[in-house]
């Protein structure tokens, strides 16, 4: 599983990568996941349904991430309006 984070001026960066079935690697993934959420990120898991339709799922804890998910994408949480300061 890869934890990716969108980043201004860079595109996505790899935050962490590991096998959820390996205890030590899962622990590292959980820590990285928490760090991103604490930094104010939202986490989404891109998914594909059986009929081929692509969707996404927002998750609030590592426990909500499907075990077979390949990627979790972190992005800044939504804020109403695009203020000039954000540009």
């Amino acid at each position: 599983m890869k934890l990716l984070r969108m980043k201004p001026g860079h595109g996505e960066i790899l935050v962490a990568e590991g096998d959820v079935d390996v205890q030590e690697e899962e622990r590292r993934l959980i820590e990285a996941f928490r760090r991103e959420l604490d930094a104010g990120m939202w986490a989404a898991v891109p998914t594909e349904r059986r009929d081929g339709r692509r969707e996404a799922e927002l998750v609030k804890s590592f426990g909500e991430v499907p075990r077979d998910a390949e990627r979790v994408i972190f992005f800044p949480r939504a804020a109403g309006g695009a203020s000039r300061a954000d540009r």
Partner: protein
Amino acid sequence: MLLALGTAAIVLAVLLWELARSRALRLLRAAGTQLQTALERARSRESAPLGYDPGRERRAEQRARELLRSCVEERDWAMYRDLGFMRVWGGLGGRAHGTDASYAYLIYPHRPIVAYVPQTGALLNEYCVAFPDHSRPYGSARLPDSDDVLAKWMALVADERHLIEQANMHLPGRQVDPERVKRDLARLTRWEREGGIGATDILRAA
């Protein structure tokens, strides 16, 4: 005599105004849009961070495009690639798709999400929402364009109600020119009629 002439002049002026009003309003709106665009350009020049590197931004956008492409359906990706925006069907009140959906959204990079009625093209609302990264790694809080589109897409598809609640809702025309949206909807219709196959696909197929 003077009274009659005065009244006739007023009636004539009102009639002329009625005839010219729609054209005058269109011209005013177009001038307003041009002014707004010019101001936005000037602002972005003023607010460009000192460490701004066009090459880095281009590479960031390229990465973001690849990520977007890997997450959405091929057709949605082609729509964004060819038209510069993406349509998402509205899901509140029934997860209907295509022409059965009661409303849909247009996602533009770094622009409000525009809600409209697919059957009529009537514009409903603008939802102003941003994903500012306050850590500002290179001096700017702004994600690459395609990351912004992907963030909106994921948030809409995953939890439409929540995203809409986070957004500032406005009537159409506040930030996105309604005429532009109408042109985009016409382009989308044409694009779909042609099978949504862009030049790149044709080249690839050949």
